[in-house]
Symmetry: C2
Subunit: 350 residues, 2 copies
């Protein structure tokens, strides 16, 4: 079956392109000399995580215990290593985290004594020990302790809490300016006799920097769908680099310079910056606006005359947020459908 | 159970506010003297559609046959009347449209001969007759024929096609400037002896205008979640008017002026204009940025000292797009949970 024969809108992943991205990043990290841990939130699909691990990734990252559990239960690797770089707060989430340690080697990040205490108390109660790292805010201004001395203080607290096993530190994203903060923290840990075998950096495109600033691993995710854009420096949407396509149907040709496609905000995501995506078959066509169910396309620069019922393939500007709106993707090679994969990690809000 | 005891992030609908919105719009349309047809894409929840019909709505609107089918099968009304104001193109969709006519009174809009022919051919083949209206582009520049004479030409074609039963016209949105286009079209239909018993206008806030320009019904949807904002003129997010809340947990308090909540783009939707939403408990707090899983909140203007683990209720700026990211909502009254409703119409991409 050709992808044009799919009912629309349909999310399609070109397997040749996806494989090239996965192999490309694996080769890049091998060359740079930094172990790669893959972020599954980009795709939420166990089949893709399995491909990434088979290409050499040391483990996965998931910001939710529920989403991680989906991957663990899908049996994507014999000895799965999961990092949850997110403060797990509240009894239901802590319980899920503890349960997850039955399925995989799990490490969790904390940036406060409250979060560490919450995990420790329940882990002790249920007889678990959780590998724990301290999150540093090295300038991204999101979560994380604010200074090397604050990292040391929290690490000492973690090391003293039952049910927790201190492993090291993490930051996001990796950048050269982060090096002094990271080195000073490592130095303080060593002087205090605290373990620091895991130093996790991250950000697609920051692999070489993670290596250079002394990380023991680097977290990357969006490369699967964006290709090596952040490494090559090119951000253009390209069918050779971007595996995700939204196959749509032209449902109206109301004027010579405008067509309407059957994908809008509910298909592509809301309020992306224009032009929303690239129409592979007609790159001169410009998606200039979206209603909830309609995509508005300016075709004034196209010589082609569009017909109602015609199929088009759009590379969405935000592949991760676009695919997250859907429950499944069709996988294809050279336009021929090879299967359907579920976003098993989607909608795991809790 | 209090909504603060929910695992987070959780989408909560305040039933008192929702009921007030539904009753308010019903009263408004009754006073104006225009029959109301409710758009279910706003919520995708049969229970809410049932409330809207019980309050007097004459039927529902759905832009997808699949989503309409969900409502029809949920038995939300004894004799359900459904309008699909969308060009149904392609055999799978046409078949679903025909099947839907077994469950409800169904009317579909077309704006081209191609779309009309596609439905006609299959309807004739399967022995159906489909109520059909002609969509006018009265200035919104989306779908729709461009002039009254073009509307007449398409209507004559529709009237002559087997399997279609011409009913009238539709436009979106209703505005006073539309009146001449609409009146001229109705006049042309009458002179040609074509039926025009259905004149459908729409847009939340345009109910009085629909009546004034001669529509037989008005389509409104977002009032359920936005309240009467477009009628009152106030667009402020308010707990008295907006029933949708995202209950989140404070997962980090890294600096005195910043907290991080466990809801980001995957919970709220991507790239909304700032400030993303209103935190009911602390209106001075300002959600200024969102990562995929983190909400970044400026609390420098708050006297309150936030704690890790604290729950907050956020009114999202885009309730419809926010709820569309989730599979279910918790319904509550005065903070007490009363049940869980599924977004049964969500993810019906085809």
């Amino acid at each position: 079956m050709h992808i044009y024969d799919l009912d629309t809108p349909a999310i399609v992943i070109d397997l040749d392109v996806l494989e090239r991205n996965i192999q490309g990043m694996a080769a890049h990290c091998a060359q740079v000399g930094i172990p790669l841990r893959v972020h599954t939130k980009t795709h939420k699909i166990p089949e893709i995580a399995r491909m990434q691990l088979a290409a050499g990734a040391i483990g996965i990252v998931s910001q939710k215990a529920t989403a991680a559990e989906v991957m663990a239960r899908a049996g994507i690797a014999d000895a799965l290593d999961i990092l949850i770089p997110y403060n797990i707060v509240g009894l239901p989430k802590v319980r899920r985290l503890l349960e997850l340690t039955r399925w995989a080697t799990v490490t969790v990040a904390v940036d406060s004594e409250e979060t560490a205490l919450g995990i420790s108390q329940q882990a002790q109660r249920e007889g678990y020990t959780v590998r724990t790292i301290v999150e540093l805010d090295t300038g991204a201004k999101r979560c994380g302790v604010q200074s090397p001395s604050a990292a040391l203080a929290l690490a000492e607290r973690v090391a003293g809490l039952p049910g927790l096993s201190l492993q090291g530190i993490m930051t996001y994203p990796s950048s050269l300016g982060v090096k002094p903060f990271l080195q000073e923290t490592v130095e303080l840990f060593h002087r205090a006799g605290l373990p620091c075998t895991m130093i996790s950096g991250g950000g697609t495109g920051a692999e070489a920097i993670s290596q250079e600033i002394g990380c023991t691993e680097t977290r990357s995710g969006s490369y699967a769908y964006e290709g090596m854009t952040r490494i090559s420096g090119s951000k253009d949407l390209s069918p050779e680099r971007c595996p995700v396509r939204v196959v749509v149907t032209v449902v109206s040709t109301p004027t010579p310079d405008r067509i309407i496609i059957d994908g809008g905000q509910e298909t592509f995501t809301s309020y992306p910056p224009k032009p929303y995506g690239l129409i592979i078959e007609q790159p001169q066509a410009r998606i200039y606006s979206m209603s909830v169910e309609h995509g508005h396309v300016d075709v004034s620069q196209c010589a082609h005359r569009f017909q109602v019922g015609e199929k088009l393939s759009v590379i969405p500007l935000h592949a991760e947020m676009t695919s997250n709106l859907h429950d499944e993707v069709v996988v294809a090679r050279q336009g021929q459908v090879e299967g359907v994969w579920s976003l098993r990690g989607r909608g795991r809000v809790r």
